[in-house]
Symmetry: C2
Subunit: 484 residues, 2 copies
Amino acid sequence: MRLPGTSPRAPAASVAGMTDVRTFVDEHRHELLADLDSWLRIPGISAQPERHDDVRRSADWLAAAARQVGFPTVEIWPTAGLPAVYAEWPSADADAPTVLVYGHHDVQPVDPIELWHTDPFDPTIDGDLLRARGASDDKGQLLFHLLGLRAHLAATGRDTPAVSLKFLIEGEEESGSPNFEALLAAQRTRLDCDVVVITDTGMIAADKPSTVTGMRGMASCTVEFHGPDLDLHSGVFGGAIPNPATAIARLAAALHDEHGRVQVPGFYDDVLELTGIERELFARVPVDDAEFLGVAKSRALHGERGFTTLERIGARPTAEVNGIGGGYQGAGGKTIVPSDAFVKLSFRLVANQQPQNIIKAVDAFVAEHTPEGIEAKIDWEGGGVAPCLVPLDTPAYRALTDAISEAFAGLPVLPTREGGSGPEAAIQQALGAPMVFLGVGLPDDQIHAPNEKVNLSMLYKGAEAAALLWAGFARLGRSGLGAT
Amino acid sequence: MRLPGTSPRAPAASVAGMTDVRTFVDEHRHELLADLDSWLRIPGISAQPERHDDVRRSADWLAAAARQVGFPTVEIWPTAGLPAVYAEWPSADADAPTVLVYGHHDVQPVDPIELWHTDPFDPTIDGDLLRARGASDDKGQLLFHLLGLRAHLAATGRDTPAVSLKFLIEGEEESGSPNFEALLAAQRTRLDCDVVVITDTGMIAADKPSTVTGMRGMASCTVEFHGPDLDLHSGVFGGAIPNPATAIARLAAALHDEHGRVQVPGFYDDVLELTGIERELFARVPVDDAEFLGVAKSRALHGERGFTTLERIGARPTAEVNGIGGGYQGAGGKTIVPSDAFVKLSFRLVANQQPQNIIKAVDAFVAEHTPEGIEAKIDWEGGGVAPCLVPLDTPAYRALTDAISEAFAGLPVLPTREGGSGPEAAIQQALGAPMVFLGVGLPDDQIHAPNEKVNLSMLYKGAEAAALLWAGFARLGRSGLGAT
């Protein structure tokens, strides 16, 4: 392990005179590259127990790097699983808002390794592209923050940042963040902040700067239907007793009408409908349905009538059959009435749906669709994940888009939404602060896949945007960010 | 192997003077028992390759037994699999009808062997019950025929039977009769007959003589739906592309309306509806729904509205989901849109539905229910099995029920129907002769299960009924049986 700082660099605070953010970033790119080369060599795969020591080394590396940048407080926070890194740098200014930056230092597994063209843990630069596991998700993005912070200090000539910064960098995000909510609860007081910046997402394209403004929540379950206590001969019993495989199919079929609208009573009750302005902004996002189909390797689009693909994925709740099974599964046929059948369902939720309400509604729906003579059992995966949404009319959002726009040559910044679900909702729920997303990954970064890469130019722009954002938040002050 | 005939017995034709059928059967019970003891020791399990030599020994035993009774022509008929036994005894009478008796000499496997209370191949007598694999299905029933034929000769004082008899005893029935249709086709001319007697079924109860009057046909298939070419992340793609698991569930759900009626267009077009008299006779069959539920280990009845359980099983066609699958099958959840899903369907058919028409109708139904973007594939298991039906208003049926009634102390004989499908339809289709069912198994015989037994008193009555039936058919003559 090569710790950061072994290559000489000017301490941010000692830069003689003021320089602008872009110039500082440009002049210190090589240090970002050196850090990337060093950190990306640590195979911190949280999903693989044999790599857990590497995840701990990864946390140590980041802690050392944060100290090197100047964070006065840097701690390794243990969890029941793998450690998080916490770094804190208070501003000297009285009204300085407190910003919490979230990211993760663990990485995805590399299988299938044979599909990689280069060693995933030997970073390789090819023009603007740097290839390695974690280059985009999420190490590269965290390192732009360190450079961005130095640029912020250099550009403002300050000894402390203009905002109080708290970095909370998780070590188990790629394993489903099993201990993250407990960590948030345990450290709730120290994590107090006025705004949260999530750095683990991407943009539409290098020349289409954008920001995530929502992530869907989720509730998922397995429904089991039990019919006769044994598989029966369909000649002797077929047509005279209830068939649980038919019943489970009828339940799954009843989830949607022919227009793709979910039929669980009350499902849409709390949905915050898109405003006209939001739909207009969504329409400007250049999602190409043909390209989307190409990535999905699907032959058609299908979803809730009246909404575009982007709206369906980002702004509309869904009910999805993830798995279905029951009865004979082998080759050919077997004339039985099966004893059991199941369906695995997941419901993606949008603001302001509450997982607990959806769970109740689905429970009632399943009961309603359980025929006489069938016994139903529903297992929910925990209590679900709440959706999170960034309102577009807030000072924090405007400061974010101003900073990104300035870093991206004045281009307008489009709002997008993620269809997936992550620990962000838990952060929002635990901390109760406004949240924005600053991430510069690109759709072709191959995160979670072989040959992950990052565009270095995006990292440089990310560093600029971060530096500008801290200044922007500082200008707003705590009260301007809506703190009470 | 102990061949039959090593215990001395009077040749049928040399019995001095006439005796009645019942007396002859009563006086020769011990010979039936000796034959049972000998034949049931041969473990002729057609489903187990290591028992195939035993199946061949079983055929040899039966051939020797038929010769012993007096059949002038007895042949072992090889097939691509295991041999059948064919025995022929022409009547000396010019107008004598020809009767073909069908049964099988192979037996079911004995697993789970640990649930047997006695050795399945060491026949044990306990009062009226004889326990052994094959005691009821089908060796016991074939042996009542040999005794019945001797009783017929004794009672009529004839040297040849009053009907020309052809026995076709299959050796692969318990393995699905894979080579039986080919055998029927190859031997079509020699199998020519005026009436077919199937001896491989049972009665409602020892004091409720009955006869099967129909067996359902079948067509079965696997429908595969292919959606995206790979499993997709349901957060990124869910709600925007067609889900094949949802589509297969909607297909399976569309098979029935809420009243259990099959919704495939044209499905009921050729169904021969039950007549008022048939429904009245069905209603007299003492099927106890509570007992039926107990055997099925089901908590409710369910089927086509407007029909009784017996009618649903015997006289109504069905569509049954035998298996369904797709997507994630493991513990917990996995948030995917699956690439593939399948459903295995079987359709039980009744007279006069034709499998080929049902296959066409289901093909069209699947096409109609394949959403845009989903690719459907249907694999049918061969061309299906036709249903067969015994009309109640025919001379053959009346002769059968008269014979059974006389053997069963004058009790009325109720018509029942089997829900399953067997080689009988192939026989009816190949030979084009009227068919009746003479079988004396009981519902608690545990055929295909551990501790198979037969009631010896039922075998004696079966022997009487067979003897009386040959006389009855002879009285009708060829023309009376409807031969042209």
